[in-house]
Amino acid sequence: MSRRFALKTFFYILLIALAIVYLLPVYLMVITGFKPFDQVDLKTMWALPTTGLHIDNFIAGYKQLAPNLNNSLMMVIPEAILSALLGSFNGYLLAKWKFRGSNLIFSLILFGMFIPYQSILIPLVKFMQFIKLYGDLPGLVLVHIIYGIPITTLIFRNYYAGIGTEILEAARIDGASLMGIYRYIMFPLSAPSFAVVIIWQFTQAWNEFLFAVILTNQAHWPVTVALNNLAGSQLVQWNVLMAATLLAALPTLLVYIFLGRYFLRGLMAGALKG
């Protein structure tokens, strides 16, 4: 029994040590953010703030990133909602109305999820310039929706595939049509899936960098591009940078903390279990 106890203690010590390591970057961002300007020194980087909590760094960081946080928000909200609706249609049709070749079509769509976007970047830029959506947020929203089709379709398809066909057969006998079944049976059942997909697309688009940096001009930069730019400039103090980074990461962190269950389901769907 005591051997088991010793083992358990060892496990706890190991887990706690690992947890501290994993939390180190966040600890640094938080304590640096709350220090007053005169206490910021690379030598005392790890020390807690000694003269109370100050939010000057966060204010300075917010001033740097405010327009970009707004850009990201304006881009991500329509993107996540429209993506989810589209994915829900596709997933429903591919799960419940299979036709010859529908599995092949699904696999071909799915491949779009894995491609390195560098391999389509030149045509994409030329095309966006041609349709005059280059440089601004609506174009970025469109691009995120289109390249989001594979993952959103996958998540919804797996979800709908898990709903029994009996309910569908019964509805068909009662004369419900393809759209009727979606509207009155499938859609009302899809709330959990919508949560998963909206959260997933929100996080993805918020964190995305390549499309954002290539397809938008400076006035419309989302927060990832602005943050990278801020980090590369010599004009910004590192303490302000830490606070700004925390602000840029905060929306997805909060989503994770409060809606982590759904976030995890999105992750697992991304692991291709279907």
Binding site: F11, L15, Y22, I105, I120, P123, P138, M268, L272, K273
Partner: protein, 358 residues
């Protein structure tokens, strides 16, 4: 099942209205521009007009009572979008990579595989990229698998606070590679002497001076190995979740049976659980592998486009959009695609086959 056309008057009127509105908006927008608060949204307007017109067509198609055709027709917009934006654009990129397009004006003069030949034979930077990607991929996959499996086994011990620990190991996944790169850039600060800071400062305070490191500023090829640290920080929790899911899906009866047969806990993991986790490992390798072959933003934020930490994703960006060498950029993009396809396509085909059997 019967297929016959059934004219339903209300739906028919709806279809006519949709088609009329769609066609009218297409007609108007092709002659004028749609400007909303200073933004030229003509193309978005055309897209919506087209979709409205198409939805009218769908209402008519629905009257034929043939669900297969309706299903295909409803999928068509997404299929077309993917066909153009994924496959069409890949084809277009491929064509650019076989040209000598350099400079802002497109030049599609055919040069065959010249761009690819140059990358492999006359381009030291691309060779560095390959070496760096290989280093990163190996370190990243092994790091995530070993730490992920270790964490999963630790959390499988039914300790108190399991959910909390799981959350702590998983949260870095929700942060962008850019934010992660910025913070880790400061943690892995290579400054020494009296400017020592970051993790090196902790090592110094703890007396572990032998661990003080130049991190990703270490001379190549080993500097690249340190860029794996933030990546593993972000995705080992994900790997842990995959493994933990796998372990928990193994029935307790099986473990109990092994215990009755006299197997120790370690033997149970070694001979019962690990072999059963092979499919999880395969999925994890494919997901992590395709991420690392594409790695881009993390290295941008960490290395600030330093050549020593260059990867194909960054080289493609720089050579195309800073150097306007479109043909070379396209060739790098296509090579990245091929490397990912080699990893992913067999898996997708396998996945499709098992589904068809079901």
């Amino acid at each position: 099942m019967y297929h016959r056309f059934e004219l339903r008057i209300p739906q028919f009127i709806l279809a006519l209205v949709l088609m009329l509105v769609g066609a009218a908006s297409l007609f108007i927008l092709s002659n004028t521009q749609l400007i909303i608060s200073g933004r030229n949204l003509t193309s978005i307007g055309l897209l919506i007009g087209g979709l409205v017109l198409y939805s009218g067509v769908l209402v008519i198609v629905a009257m034929f009572n043939n669900e297969t055709i309706l299903s295909i027709a409803m999928l068509l917009p997404s299929i077309v979008a993917v066909a153009i934006f994924v496959y069409g654009f890949i084809g277009w990129s491929l064509r650019v990579s076989l040209s000598k397009w350099k400079g802002l004006n497109p030049d599609y003069t055919w040069v065959g595989l010249q761009q690819y030949y140059n990358l492999f034979n006359n381009d030291p930077r691309f060779i560095i990229d390959i070496r760096n990607t290989a280093m990163f991929t190996v370190g990243f996959i092994f790091g995530c698998l070993i730490i992920g499996l270790g964490l999963a086994i630790l959390l499988d011990q039914r300790l108190k606070g399991e959910a909390l620990f799981r959350g702590i190991f998983l949260f870095p996944m929700s942060i962008s590679f850019i934010a992660s790169g910025v913070v880790w850039g400061w943690l892995m600060n290579p400054a020494t002497g009296n400017r020592i800071t970051g993790i090196n400062l902790i090592f110094q305070k703890l007396g572990l001076t032998s661990l003080i490191s130049l991190w990703h500023s270490t001379p190549q090829p080993w500097g690249m190995a340190f860029t794996v640290i933030p990546a593993v920080w972000q995705l080992s929790g994900f790997t842990m979740a995959l493994y933990l899911g796998g372990i928990r899906s193994i029935s307790e009866d099986l473990r109990e049976a092994a215990r009755v047969d006299g197997a120790s806990e370690i033997q149970i993991y070694r001979y019962v659980i690990l072999p059963m986790l092979q499919p999880v490992t395969l999925s994890a390798v494919i997901i992590l592998g395709h991420m690392s072959l594409k790695i881009f933003d993390l290295i941008v934020a960490l290395g600030n486009k330093a050549i020593s930490l260059d990867v194909p994703g960054i080289y493609m960006w720089v050579t195309t959009f800073d150097g306007t060498n479109y043909a070379q950029g396209a060739a790098i993009g296509i090579l990245m695609l091929i490397s990912v396809a080699i990893l992913v396509v067999p898996y997708l085909i396998q996945n499709m086959r098992t589904e068809t059997e079901l």
